[in-house]
Amino acid sequence: MAAAIEVNGVSKRFRLNHERHRTLKERAIHFGRRTESEPFWALQHIEFQVAEGETVGLLGHNGSGKSTLLKCIGGILQPTLGSIVTRGRVASLLELGAGFHPDLTGRENVYMNAQILGLKSRDIAARFDEIVEFAGLEDFIDEQVKHYSSGMYVRLGFAVATNVDPDILLIDEVLAVGDEAFQRKCLDRIREFQRAGKTLVFVTHSADLMRSICDRAVALDHGRVIASGLPGEAIRAFRMSLVDGRGRPSVETELDLIGEDEVEQAQIDAAALANREVAVVGVELSHPGDGERDYLLPGEALRVRVRYHAAHPIDDVVFVLNLHDTNGQFLFGVNTDSLMGGMKGVDGDGFVDFHLPAVPLLGGKFLVSIGVHSHDQRTIYDHRDGIGEFEVVNPGRAAGLLHIDATVSQATPEPTS
């Protein structure tokens, strides 16, 4: 099968001009003097192929050349050296709604945008309703885009880009925007693409997303490919490069992937190593308010039921429950060893219940992660970050993270005579 994308020895050089002479006047003044410019190689001898129907993730810290590579594949930048061959229509989602004009209505922008992406107007007309429905903008499609909220803007952009029916879709971290419902919709759409045998190249900072979506990952560092292979392997190689090279990176956007604390680091590695002999099938959360509200009150009980499937009888097994907040701050961790001194072996389908009689959290969203491993932690059966989530709503006036019972009393000191 022919590769959908062939990247053959691609290098891209940028010039970093310390003083940019952007105008004729400046050029005239500085005529004859060489402007100081440093060549900067954003990409160096990049070589890889993406087979038709494959999903490849690009990984790398900020400035590693991921976006430049994506732009080269998309034909927005021309490589300085080497060549790129793409087979089929390429649509790139480097920025959602790029090219939307604020003064035009949603309808007009859909047509404009789809035409820029290479669609004929009769094809757009045929897909128009689908695009609008996907974006959920039926009521606003004839409004000017400048009156849209940023979420609406992004939704429309994604809806158009994925409806132009590309053979190759390039996505640059755009899914981080939009609310959760829409993110899920986007992921569904991406999976649909995969099922339809389309080729995807995908930049994300989320290790989870990379693992769940990509067949293969390519890690970049300083414009070079440092690893290419299974997502887990690439993630590990990428992390090694960070530690070896410059110690801890300081860029906050990569928190998700790089993890500030060792616990998270271990967890991410764990997921890459999971052999799925005991697989976590699902997590059910229940609390006293079930049925009337979908959130917890501070100090309420929570039961976490972990459904699993064991491929064969396994005795050496520990279930771990971890809670994080949405910023990735590790809040609480417990396992079946520490709670009940070890559990019976597992086989086939079953579940483990964790009972938390009083969750002392005050408010916010929290993520439940489940791990399954052997007692010595050498064998990791499964690891699911953020497989469940719950919300605690603070009805009172206390502020902060924890729910702590507090009362107050006042005493008037006896007047001293």
Partner: protein, 311 residues
């Protein structure tokens, strides 16, 4: 999905450091719908929030006409009969040419978000500016039509067909310069300001307000041939419009001398040549325009690879 079956028909794109002009032309043809859409967008955006809408387009030549009429006909007394028709013949085509260049120059830099994030043939952006100005031209032609009905009621029948080649030539010429200038402006941002000055000088070097014959006569008096005026490519186009629509290459004035004798003077406005002479000039300019257009595309192709990093 059958392996390989869809790839055999799908377009294969090879992205290499440079690509050919021919490939660009093919791509342009493929994206012709986008060109139309961009023209429509430019017009829509321009008049979206204005109450007068397209009236503004016609206001410009009407006002220019009033000012020039007052200055040149009333104050300076240049004596050209039906001056409004005369002026509009040249002014409209000049507006098409110059406004195309001016608006195209900023078209790449002004659409930075698009150029930076989406792959499409970028030369469509300056060409869309030309297209939008072509639409303006047709709206402004209504003013000319009004002036014709009010003052003249007829055109030069044996010359009027020259309008078609003249339009084609001016479009290709404007397209060539637009593509070239839009690329230049990415690297030298004050091209726009420089162009405004150039356009101003160029306007007065073109026989729009004054008749061509005045310059030709001055040249002859100084022993120079009149074809020198045609070195300005726009002159060939403007005089064609004037010959075809204004229709009258000369006019006569009668004055009474000191001795009471009536003196009839024949004043020349335009070259006294047949339609083929005009067509020959247009053909030469057209040829130059095509060469310039190919050159501009070639230049554009060479530099566009860096647009996304320069913007």
């Amino acid at each position: 999905m059958a392996p390989g079956s869809s790839t055999s028909t799908a377009p294969t794109t090879v992205i290499v450091p440079t690509s050919s002009v021919w490939a660009h032309l093919v791509q342009l043809w493929h994206y012709r719908e986008l060109l139309v859409a961009l023209v429509r967008k430019e017009l829509k955006v321009k008049y979206k929030n204005s109450t007068l809408g397209f009236f503004w387009t016609t206001l410009n030549p009407m006002l220019t006409l009033c000012v020039y009429f007052f200055v040149f006909s009333v104050l300076l007394g240049n004596g050209i009969p039906r001056f409004p028709v005369w002026l509009l013949c040249g002014l409209l085509v000049w507006n098409l040419f110059s406004n195309s260049m001016v608006s195209a120059t900023g078209s790449i830099t002004g659409n930075g978000s698009l150029v930076n994030k989406v792959a499409f043939p970028r030369e469509i952006l300056p060409l869309a500016s030309v297209g939008a100005n072509l639409v303006h031209f047709f709206f402004q032609a209504i003013v000319l039509l009004g002036a014709l009905i009010a003052f003249q009621r007829s055109v030069a029948v044996e010359y009027i067909w020259l309008i078609v080649p003249a339009m084609l030539v001016v479009l290709v010429l404007a397209g060539a310069l637009s593509v070239f200038l839009s690329a230049i402006n990415v690297y030298a941002r004050d091209t726009q300001h420089l162009l405004e000055l150039v356009v101003m000088v160029w306007f007065w070097l073109t026989p729009i307000v004054y008749p061509w014959a005045q310059v030709a006569t001055k040249l002859k008096e100084n022993g120079m041939p009149s074809w020198l005026t045609l070195l300005n490519p726009i002159t060939s186009i403007v005089i064609t419009f004037q010959r075809a629509i204004y229709a009258q290459p000369t006019y006569t004035t009668t004055s009474t001398g000191a001795d009471g004798v009536k003196v009839v003077t024949v004043n020349q406005l335009l070259p006294l040549e047949g339609p083929w002479w005009y067509l020959r000039n247009l053909s030469i300019v057209g040829l130059v325009a095509v060469v310039l257009f190919i050159g501009a595309l070639r230049f554009f192709t060479r530099v566009e690879g860096n647009f996304a990093e320069e913007i």
